[in-house]
Amino acid sequence: MNLLLDLALVAWLIVLAIHVARTGDDRNAIIAFIAFGLLLGLAWTRLGAIDVALTEAAIGGGITGLLLLRAEAHLRRGRQAGSAPRKASGATSIVAALASAAIALGLGLAVLAFPSPAPTLAPPALAAIDATGLGNPVTAVLLAYRALDTLLEKVVVLLALLGVWALTPDHLWGGAPALKEANPPQPLLYLARTLPPFGVLIAVYMVWVGADAPGGTFQAGSILAAMWLLVMLAGLRPAPETRSRLLRLLLVGGPALFFAIGFLGFAVAGGFLAYPEPLAKALIVGIEAALTVAIALALGLLVAGPSSKAPAP
């Protein structure tokens, strides 16, 4: 029964992906991709990875979808009438299809050839979790065992934001991005008024339980970002100016706290990014809280794009 469900899921995913490849219209492709992202979330639950499923659904499908849809709309508005979307030439397509198929085949072979029993780090991850005081092994991996990756990845996000901001025309630098829809439809306004309080609540809850149960800083951050974007899209709150001091301090605050506690480890726990055992959980949850704010802001601002209004004098 479960296998049938899985097969159907896989079939849908592949059909949607092929649709993205074949459809002539970008908007059509993006909508298919959003559906694909949601199904992907479902697939992740089938793979026993609730944390990933939440992240995938929120970021992979939702926010990425929004980003792409906005871009598509922008291009559509600016496009001249009659410039038809281009398609790849036939020969290129055939060769590319063959080459991609060969790669997929190789991958498939590799997947089938994985050793059995599978090597796994689940037991040691679980064995070491007591030292962190956490209950969710994924959070333990993200914020303790492989905290360096997470730390660098936070910097990656900030850097991407910096890169987006760097694309601002010089006279608009430091101003605010324009996110508001020209005529926000009523349902959007309604959602933007009602959803955010619940969203914030869910996010806070997620950070809190993320230590022990599925959920955590990314998931919470992306939900917060989604709420914020909703508010900005509906025009209930303007997007902040990118030069705003508070904004920048909040953005930097999460990673900075992470670094600070990491360096504190030198003094009290014998090494960088090491946590003193009794305080480990408290410190980690603290870091997560600060990171959640930073992530939410960064994700929202990444969707909002470079500023399009000159900074207020």
């Binding site: 790849a88 290129t92 060769v95 590319a96 080459a99 060969a102 790669i103 190789g106 072979l109």
Partner: protein
Amino acid sequence: MTASGSLLAATILLPLAIAALCLSSRFRARAPSLLVFAPLPALLAALLVPDGTSALFPPPLRLSLMLDRPGAILLGGAALLWSAAGAFAASYMRSDPARAGFAVWWLLTLAGSLGLFIVRDIANFYLLFTLASLAAYGLIVHEQTARAHRAGTVYVVLALLAEAFLLLAFVMLAAGHPDPNPAIRDVVATLPAAPLRDAIVTLLVLGFALKLGLVPLHVWLPLAHPAAPMPASAVLSGVVVKAGAIGLIRFLPFEAGLPFWGTLLIGAGFVTAYYAAIVGVTQTRAKTILAYSTVSQMGLLAVLLGTGLENADPGATSLVAYYAVHHTLVKGALFLAVGVLAATGGQRLRPMLLLTAVLALSLGGMPLTSGALAKLASKPMLGYGLVSHAMALAGAGSTMLMLHFTLIVARDVRDNPASIAPAGQLVPWLAVAAASLILPWSLYPAISGEPLASLIQPDALWKLLWPMLLGTLALLLVRRFERLQGAIPEGDIVVLAEAGTPAIARLAAFVERADAHLRRWPVAGLLLLALAILIGGALMLQA
């Protein structure tokens, strides 16, 4: 460090130091007047340092120097010419706004070319060889004319080619050696038994022959030497080409001998000597004729080297050095003469023309001149067979070429207004001319082992005179055919090579089109996947 060692080191370091001081703009203005002093350590070293002295400098310099007899002879003659030409340059370039830059290139070339005569290890030989080659480029293009740029381009291309041949040869020579930077002598000793012997010798001969200007690798020389300012032409033709000679002296195994390669060098040498004489006699510019004469003379040098290599006669190296020093001084004096004569007119012209003619005919072997000495000294080694006769015939060719030169110079200066060249040019010229007459006499007994008296015996004189008469006759014959004058362009077969340029341009255009195609996204993307598939497939098949 002994005094001798310091003197040897100063040979290289003093010119480099002066060049480095030119970074200061105040010093730079005075640099040309110092050119005369830069080669003095070399001169002193050649005179004072005993043969066989060596000096080692610790890492990171890894420099080791050694003075032997051929090196000392070449070093002394070259230093003399460098010094005199330096003095000449200070006067000649007086009003050239770019003379400071000229001085820097001069000093770098000087350091490289003199250092080559005394360097002992293989890496620094290459370094100094490169220094001399590349810095000479600055001298060649100094006048910034279209001619100079064409000459410079041809020169650089072939110089870099020579570098490439030599680098590979040196690396192959040193590859089997435990010391990463061995002494040249040590690796050459192992050369005859080396597994890649013939490849190495091919590369060495190609590399040095390019420098020496052996036909058909000579094309750059008649373009480059005349393009430079007069004093620079003198040192390029007099000294810098000898880098090829010292290279062959140092790197060919004269102890063990290589008969095949000896014969090959003899053949190439004669072809060069005759070919350059014949092409040279069709030329109409004095400096170009001198350049062809240099090519021809380097051919004769190659004959001497080839003979030594064929007979496994290490003594040949001293003889080659002796012949080379004769050419250094005479050719240097002749180039300076062209400069001096151009600034001279009226009554004073006649004695100067006479002296120029004597110098020119010295290359043809005129009795009592250095040319005669050099030829007589080499007679015993060449024997009395075919080679000896061919050599005499080459003397006839040289005589023909140099008479042609004298006539051209005389024609060029016929209408000069009455004046006299400044002393700053006249004195250096006379000094080199005098040295070219005296120095070979003083060295003769040591080189040939025969008393000076043997030089004035009648049969020795006759051996020298009949080729000269033959050469004179040949010239008279040539001058009957007016059309021959200017019939062959300067650099002769370089024109053929340049005809190949469109093909190269087409190839380059093809590369450009290919690049534009490869850089298209789908193509590059597919290539990326293809690489992944190729690597993956191969690894899976292996596993």
